[in-house]
Structure formats: structure tokens, C-alpha cells
Assembly symmetry: C3
Amino acid sequence: LPVPVAAGAPAPPVDPFAVANVVGLLAFAVAGALKAADADLDLFGVVVLGVLTALGGGVTRDVLVGRVPAALTSSGDVAVALVGVVVGLAVAGRARAASTTLGVGVGARVRVRDHPAFLVSDAVGLAAFAATGALVGVDAGLTPFGAVVLATLTAVGGGSIADLMIGRTPSVLREDFYATPAVLGGSTFALAAAVAPTGVPTLACFAVTLGVRLLALRYDWHLPTV
Amino acid sequence: LPVPVAAGAPAPPVDPFAVANVVGLLAFAVAGALKAADADLDLFGVVVLGVLTALGGGVTRDVLVGRVPAALTSSGDVAVALVGVVVGLAVAGRARAASTTLGVGVGARVRVRDHPAFLVSDAVGLAAFAATGALVGVDAGLTPFGAVVLATLTAVGGGSIADLMIGRTPSVLREDFYATPAVLGGSTFALAAAVAPTGVPTLACFAVTLGVRLLALRYDWHLPTV
Amino acid sequence: LPVPVAAGAPAPPVDPFAVANVVGLLAFAVAGALKAADADLDLFGVVVLGVLTALGGGVTRDVLVGRVPAALTSSGDVAVALVGVVVGLAVAGRARAASTTLGVGVGARVRVRDHPAFLVSDAVGLAAFAATGALVGVDAGLTPFGAVVLATLTAVGGGSIADLMIGRTPSVLREDFYATPAVLGGSTFALAAAVAPTGVPTLACFAVTLGVRLLALRYDWHLPTV
């Protein structure tokens, strides 16, 4: 993934945006692997769902703008996603073992996904992916609508594909304030790109997406049904 | 979307093909939004399904021929689709209100989709989208089979993706004479493209798709199961 | 599809790899058509699922590397897939007729798919598609991971899309040793491509995929769930 850096700035020892991207890849891969284990997929299915959840949004983004997906041409993100799958397998295996002796397996997996550390990591990933998606969209000359679509798809596309694979309506379509922060972040990027120097739109998108997502978690926001 | 115009003809004040395209975008977006409301999606889900139903076929078409989707690089069709979503939300909201007081909400939404004005608008959209898809396919140098696939996908792809999102087998695969008119229209385009001047294949595809679809509605045609 | 031929070798009268590809297209199209008939799709749905099962993996592969899908720009594979659909329709029709008189229809269709001749043909197709996918991936400059993904997707993508269309979790994610042979074959290709002359990686991938798949059938191998 391209890592946006403010023009002219000296490269920091560790790029905070790259860190956010890694945190997101890990959280998404763990979530996908646990979802697959809950759906009784076999080992291949768990690996596929973990990797798809982490990388599927970016693959969709790249296909839409006519690029060969970065996940197929470079190895960094793939390696991080596979680490996340291994972590997910370990968590699922421990939950399975606990379930066998204590009957609390599914509960243990749910607890992992409801743990504040997991939810914050997932929100960081949502924000990093939305920012990357919006950046790719604007660089590809898309309209503001197109950039918002790409931000949202990059952020929630992987999880949505994973949901479809196990026969579920993507959860973002039913019980939102997971996609909405990405929509707002992408819109912020599109607005900022018209007026602010390079780097600012990415940071603004990241901050808005993360902030709105954390507020939605804190106050249990939901969109209305119709 | 490219608007085919007969070579040498003076541009008419209002291009009838562009009108057909707008009618189709509106009808498809309304249908998608109502489908989402029936499936109890939230507001984000209703917007996504409405927009996907209207634009998803064209996006699929563009990806298959290696183009960045027109829906992400120009704003006209997107604006029309969003208007359709708003109309769909209004219809769904009125139906919901009626349901609360009278217990007839779902019935009201069904009535909208079974209304002759809606069905004819939807058929006009099917025909316009099939014609655009076949044109893009032939322009991209596809085989006749490829052009028929592109005509059909452009016409029924958006609704099929929306069906998949809410866990349904695409209705065109179960109870047809909705995709078949597009297949016949696309085949007409491919045949006409070999012998007739520019513009004629588009018109012939539009006429055949629309005519067959209206006959299928009038006489309740169905394909056999096997 | 590109048919790999060892450099400098005289063209054989019949390329065995092309034969394997045709066998696979036929087996996949028959399987898809029977799956659709079992799911009570109509005639259009049966044709779509048969063609998608045979060609969908290759279409996905081509889209990912930025090519217009070969299935839309050349006619050979399409014609073979349509022959397979016709065979599938005939088998399904005979089974339906038997069912009406004897109550054994579904059993008859299952017997076709469990027949050793069908299972071997399907395994040959799996191996041929995996080899083509890996070759396209390496030619497109993908990483070894990307080449393995492309081998696997080309081999199992069509059947998985067909599963999704009828509301099922792709069977390769639940009860494997169908995708795993393609993963191992693709990995073999990626390794061999680094050291062996043109043609060898393709043959090695084909042999490993076919061999592992036949062993899995013979000894009823399954991957563990987590």
C-alpha cells in the first residue's frame, strides 16, 4: 500500500500511518479467522476468510481503478495478514479447547471481539483503510463520490465479502455506524483535497473516521431502519 | 455512459436514448431501495442497495472490459440513482407509516412494484442498459458471446448483486423472462452490428429487449425448469 | 487460454494440456448445470451456472491481472462450456424423467457426480486450471503468493461463485481437499519457476494438483476444522 508522507518532510523513523495499517490488517485478519471458525469452516476456509477480510477491500479498490491488486504484487501486507490468521487460529483453538471442557468456547471468541483492545485496533484499521482508499481514488482521478465509494469499500469491503461467503448479509448493511465513519472520513478527504496541501486530506480522513467510529462504539449509535 | 447517436443525424433537442437511461436508473434505484427496506436493512444499506441496483451492472461491465467504472468518474448517473433512492425511501416510509396504522405496509410497497408505470419504467431501463452493454462490448472487441454477456450483465447485474447482498439467489436465475429479453436484445445487437450502420444495432437491441419484456409481462411468460 | 508448449519442441499432433483443459471445462460445466437443476433454477439459471462454473475462475483470474477475460474475447472455451451445459441438461432431464416414474431422480444426478469417470475428469480440470492460473500469475509478475492465489482461484473460483449464487457457502471453504491440491500445485509452480526451464513448472503443477486430488478422493482426506 502506498504510504502517504507529507512532501518535503524528513521520513520519520516509524511512519505512524504504516503502523495504523499494520494494526488494521492484524485486527481484520483475526476477526475474519474467528468468524470463519464460528461458521465451522475448515482450516482452508479459516485462512481464506482471514486473508480476505484483511486484504479484500484493498483488492476490490485496486480492481476498480484498473490496478493489479497490491496484495498480489507485494508481500508486506500479505505477511501481516497471515500473522493475523495464525493469531486468530490460536484464539479459536483455545476457545475450542475451553468449550470442550467448560462449554464456553463461543463465548470466549465473542469476548475477544468485544474486548476494548480489539475494538480500538479494528477502528484504527477502518480509519487507515478509509484513508488509503480515498487517496487511491483521488489519485486515479475519480469524482468525490468515487473517492467516498473507494474509501468505504477499502474499509468495509473485506469484511463484507467474508460475510457473503458464509451466507450472511454484510453486517454493515444492517447495523451500521461501521461504514458510516468511513463515508464521513472519505467525504472529509474529498473536501480537504480541494483546499489543503498533500498529506492533510489523509490525516483528516483518518482522524474523522477513527473519531466517529470510537464515538459510535462509546454511545452505541445506530442508523435508523426505514 | 456513451450515448449512441445515428451518424450524420442532427442532435435532437432531447436524446430519447438518454431519457430511457434516466428512466431505467430511477426505476432500478427505487426497486433496490424498496428491496432493502423489505429486508430490514438500515439507512446505509438502503442507499447502498438502491445505488448498486442502478449502477452495479454498469460497474461490472466496465471492470470486465478494463475501464474504470463510469459511475466513479462522472456524476450524472450517480445523481439520478441518488434521486431514485430518495424516492424509494419516501415510498418505503409512507408504506411503513401506513403499516403502523393500517397493517398494509408491505402490501403498499408491493403495489408500487407491481404498478404498470413502474413495470414499464423498469422494462425501459432493462432495454437501455442492455443496449449500452452490447455497445460497450462490441466497441471493446468482444466476441458476439461476449457482447451478449455484457448486454445481459449490464441489464440484470445490479439487481442480481443486490439479491446476493440480502442472501437471495438472483431472481433472474429462478423465474426468468427478465434476463432472457436482454439475451435476445444483445444477440440482435451482435447480428445487426455485422450488417447495419452505426446506431441501428443499438436501436434494434433496445426495441427487441423492451418488446420481449413487455410481452413477457403481458402474457406471464416463464422459462421451464429442468 | 494460453497453451504452454516446451520451447523448441515440435508441436505435438494433439497437445495433451489442451485436452486436459477441455476435459475440465466439460466436467465443470456439467457439474454446474446439475447443481443448478438441483437448486430448481430455470433454464436460464442452469445455463448461467454451468457456464460460470466452467469459465468463472478464468474470468476472475483475468480481471485480477488486468486482462479482458479470455472467455469474452475468444470462442473456443465458451463453445466447450456450452457443450457441457447441454450434457448437463440431458443428464438432469433424464434424472427428472426417472424421478417422475421411479422416484430416483436426485439419486441419479448424485450418481453422475459420484461416478469415477466424472470425478477423474473433474480432477483433471482442477489440475489444468491450476496450472494455467499459476502461469498467468507468474507471467503477470505476481509474487509467489499471488501466483498461488491465481492458481487456486482459477481452479475453484467458478464453482465457488456458483455456490454463492444459490445461497451456499462455497464447498471448498467447508470440506476441503479440493482447493488444497490447487494450493500445493500452485506452490510447486512458484518454486519450479525459480529454477526450471519453461514448461516444467506447468507440468509439475498439473501433476502435483492431479496427484494430490486423486489421493484425497481415494483416501477420503479432509482438512481439520478449528
